[in-house]
């Protein structure tokens, strides 16, 4: 048994996000007073994958994003470190402006309400048009490349079963909250 606990992510939290300590670069961007902004999805049917590192088991029940401008469809999901899909919602209409909650407890592809054991995962989002816009963290793409974000031209809004990673071409880090709560 270790005398000292793990790193900064000591206390299992009911939720984490792409700007919390579980996503190091997102957290750094936040600390750098890089303010949140609104960004139209950069390319149709582009998936953006954001890495998170979990120190304790976490059951995923809901995802939350913030819609600024409604248009078309999206998909969100969770992948393991090697790009294998654990769960995704499937093509879903982008909601009206405001919080949009994606329920991963039912009607999903993959494992509903999956328990993520300690490790690295990718939180994925794909949108089928460039009119829809979302709350994001504006940063610089060189920073996103430092182990935080990857992208893929999927060719469809539905997230693939296996991700093919490429370095990001744009500098927006989508804000995605991952919640273990039954009600968000």
């Amino acid at each position: 048994m270790a005398d000292f606990p793990g790193n900064a992510y000591l206390v299992p939290a009911p939720a984490f996000s792409t700007v919390s300590p579980q996503c190091p670069i997102g957290n750094i961007s936040l600390k750098a007073s890089v303010t949140s902004t609104t960004v139209a999805w950069p390319a149709s049917n582009r998936a953006i994958y954001t890495a998170v590192h979990l120190e304790s088991p976490f059951r995923v029940r809901k995802l939350l994003i913030n819609v600024i401008a409604q248009s078309g469809n999206l998909d969100l999901g969770i992948y393991d470190e090697w790009g294998r899909r654990i769960v995704s919602k499937g093509s879903t209409a982008v909601a009206a402006a405001g919080n949009q909650i994606i329920d991963l407890t039912a009607s999903v592809t993959g494992t509903a309400s999956p328990v993520l054991n300690p490790g690295t995962y990718w939180v994925a989002m794909c949108v089928d048009n460039t009119t829809a816009s979302f709350k994001t963290m504006a940063t610089v793409f060189q920073i996103l490349q430092l182990g935080c974000c990857q992208q893929q031209a999927v060719g469809a809004v539905t997230l693939p079963s296996t991700a093919t990673f490429a370095n990001p071409a744009t500098a927006a880090l989508p804000y995605i909250l991952v919640s273990g709560n039954t009600v968000t």
Binding site: H53, P118, Q142, F165
Partner: protein
């Protein structure tokens, strides 16, 4: 029994860089400095030593830095003990790829034990736009224990630390547990 935990590699961040240093974490003014942009190395062949702590044992597979918009010259990055003994360095390497992260494979990967170190960076030229860095000020660099050494390309086997009175840019560089990607 180790005082520091051995955690699975897959729970560790992909990269560990100067963004994880006290100078970044604790210094609000440093954090709100220009958040990275292409720029110029302050003094040719001057090395900067950035104190960084590792909360866990970390497998080092590659080291990296970010090139400016007009990559050129040579860069050397490395890891030192707090006493100034070099643990590893990439040796002087020609920059390649504008505005991108450049990686150097560690020929014999090793595990860097949890603890405190200096991450070191040096560059051969003061040519505009060779480096991608955070612009800051001399007082904040010094206040956060960031040290320097002149005439340090390639990085020396033993560092001779000095207060870097000319340092106004902090390059973005670090280590990674990955062997490919990014």
């Amino acid at each position: 029994m180790s005082d520091f935990p051995n955690v699975k590699a897959e729970t560790l961040p992909f990269h560990w860089s100067i963004f994880n240093s006290p100078g970044w974490e604790n210094n609000h003014a440093l954090q709100t400095a220009t958040f990275g942009s292409t720029g110029t190395w302050t003094t040719a062949n001057t090395a900067v030593y950035v104190p960084i702590s590792l909360p866990w044992n970390y497998p080092v597979k590659r080291m990296f830095w970010i090139n400016g918009s007009a990559a050129g010259g040579n860069t050397d990055v490395g890891i030192y003990t707090l006493g100034g003994a070099r643990i590893y360095s990439t040796t002087s390497t020609a920059e390649s790829g504008n505005s991108t992260t450049q990686y150097v494979d560690v020929a014999t990967p090793f595990v860097l034990s949890a603890g405190s170190y200096y991450f070191a960076y040096t560059h051969s030229a003061t040519t505009t736009n060779h480096v991608w860095a955070i612009t800051t000020t001399v007082p904040f660099m010094e206040a956060n224990g960031i040290l320097a050494q002149a005439s340090a390309l390639p990085l020396p086997a033993t560092a001779t630390f000095a207060v870097g009175t000319t340092l106004t840019v902090l390059p973005v560089f670090g280590i990674t547990r990955t062997t490919t990607g990014f």
